[in-house]
Symmetry: C2
Subunit: 335 residues, 2 copies
């Protein structure tokens, strides 16, 4: 199922681009009226990495401060924050986790404009938020989220473009670029063989693509039970660098733009420490998987494909069932 | 040096309680005038975990939305966010990392009230922020931060108490409680032996104490080169749970209050999955290290001591030098 849903992604993106625009335009119009001054995201798991991407988009392209919510402050400690002028966006495939539902319920009562982005229009989260955007990803059955994750990124991108009166035309090529990447699945099956008996891994990136590093770590933890850890290139130098040696494989998600340039310094430090690097991005000189040039903001959508395929093939190689990770169910309900 | 600085902490806390109050009162008075509506924290490494603690404090005890800054949005992408009504707090032992200095510089120009909390009044960060609080921790020489971290927590706690016209009297007992905990160092030396040949570990907690889990993971990565990963009890169930089995040691930082009750469900799930749990907190029934009862907000300050001692003894046991982690220097400068 994970393999099928990975392969569906170009078609999902096509659907979001073709059919998603009216709902996005309607929500954008409401948000323009409210003119929020601060944006908060509430999410868990893969959706939390989409939220991280959204946080960067809001800060960089809209010059608004943004943050990620700690749901426990509301659900466990009973905090009732003053949320006037705040836009709170909850992101969830299922829209079912009680902590997110409660967080949005309280946020709405405390004056926030609330928007949920889910794959299920009838979910509790979609019902409780004032505004809703549907992911249009089709039913996702694999426990490890794939198509719902990239649909979340694309919907966020298109919403934020629309808020600047832009159509997100740069995203038009994504479906065909995605199909080309999927055709190179063999390269990732081969790369997975490098990690057949690996127990630990570090993934690093910076900027928009930091979300991809986080998502890569989660996919590897969920499907291959690897101790996969993601750090921004800067955070890595503030401590975790110490554990890097030639035995600890490192994956670098390397964007092309300014964030890619900012990764040069951490990469040279890592190379000096003997790190064994596999690079996903725009650097043909390094061992790795090359990606086409797209706008900085769109890179994480394409990066997700090789990351998902690597996790899938590694799980299969290690004899695990990526569709049924140990101890997990498709819908996780936390308080 | 790490051992000496761990042992100094009760005296540092005493100094903050005795000599730190005037500067805290002065800064609090300025903040009351400004009446910020949103709070952002900028920090790296251990200081980022103090920032996480501060975020929970702001949200829970002050009912204000708060977030953690991604410095790259400003330093790499050139974002110039609208920060009117925002309080931005930068936390750093050295006050020297250029990304934090630049973030505060831009924040001040963009209308934020800026406060830096550093151990060095002459540092660039202390100079560039409008307001400053000194940690009073004394020079820290060990690369792995210990006394500066708990001083950061205590200064944040006292500042936020003062903002509610309270004296933070509940913290008065911390130095004597800390001395009692340090006297039990032998228990942690013994506990460290369990992990002598461990390569991976998971640490979990919830609420205020989530910061302790994050800090524990960093200390173990820095000093023992373990693949130590921290998750909130809720995030753990949204994916990483899959990698837990009887071979992967788990440390639970267990608070006494509502966050401790919220951890019961994840703990029973982890037990079903065969996890081998060592508990630091208030549950004498489980194997672990017991902590005295203090206010929920103060628990992370005491929890830091057993966490630091465990990392110290594990590093020594594994033949590593905790004062000079591989590849790190005391002051890390990232862009």
């Amino acid at each position: 199922m994970m393999a099928i849903e990975i392969a569906e992604q170009p078609a999902v993106w096509q659907r979001v681009l073709a059919e998603g625009q009216p709902q996005i335009a309607a929500v954008a119009a409401r948000l323009v009226e409210r003119a929020p001054r601060f944006v908060l995201f509430a999410a868990r798991g893969s959706s939390d990495h989409a939220a991280l991407y959204g946080k960067y988009l809001i800060e960089i392209t809209h010059n608004l401060p943004a943050g990620l919510v700690s749901p426990s402050t509301v659900t466990i400690y009973g905090s009732r924050p003053d949320l006037r002028d705040v836009l709170m966006i909850a992101i969830s495939q299922s829209g079912s986790s009680p902590d997110l539902v409660r967080t949005i319920e309280v946020a709405r009562a405390q004056g926030a404009t609330t928007l949920s982005i889910t794959n299920d229009v009838d979910s509790p989260l979609a019902q409780v938020a004032e505004l809703h955007l549907e992911l249009l990803a089709g039913q996702e059955r694999s426990v490890a989220a794939t198509k719902s994750y990239t649909a979340q990124l694309l919907v966020l991108y298109l919403l934020l473009e629309r808020l600047k009166d832009r159509n997100g035309l740069a995203a038009t090529d994504l479906p065909s670029l995605g199909r080309s990447l999927l055709a190179r699945e063999g390269e990732l099956e081969q790369a997975a063989a490098r990690y057949e008996s690996t127990q630990r891994m570090v993934i690093t990136s910076r900027g928009y693509s930091y979300a991809t590093a986080m998502e890569a770590a989660l996919k590897l933890m969920e499907t291959s039970y690897l101790g996969a850890q993601a750090f921004s290139g800067a955070d890595l130098l503030h401590g975790p660098l110490a554990m890097i040696d030639a035995q600890l494989p490192l994956i670098v998600i390397l964007p092309a733009g300014p964030a890619g340039r900012a990764l040069r310094e951490p990469l040279s430090v890592l190379a000096r420490q003997g790190a064994s690097i596999f690079c996903i991005g725009n650097q043909p000189r390094l061992t790795g998987f090359s990606l086409p040039n797209v706008a900085d903001e769109l890179e994480p959508i394409l990066q997700a494909l090789p990351v998902q395929l690597l996790a899938l093939h590694l799980a299969i190689l290690r004899g695990e069932n990526p569709d049924a990770p140990r101890g997990l169910t498709k819908v996780t309900r936390t308080l």
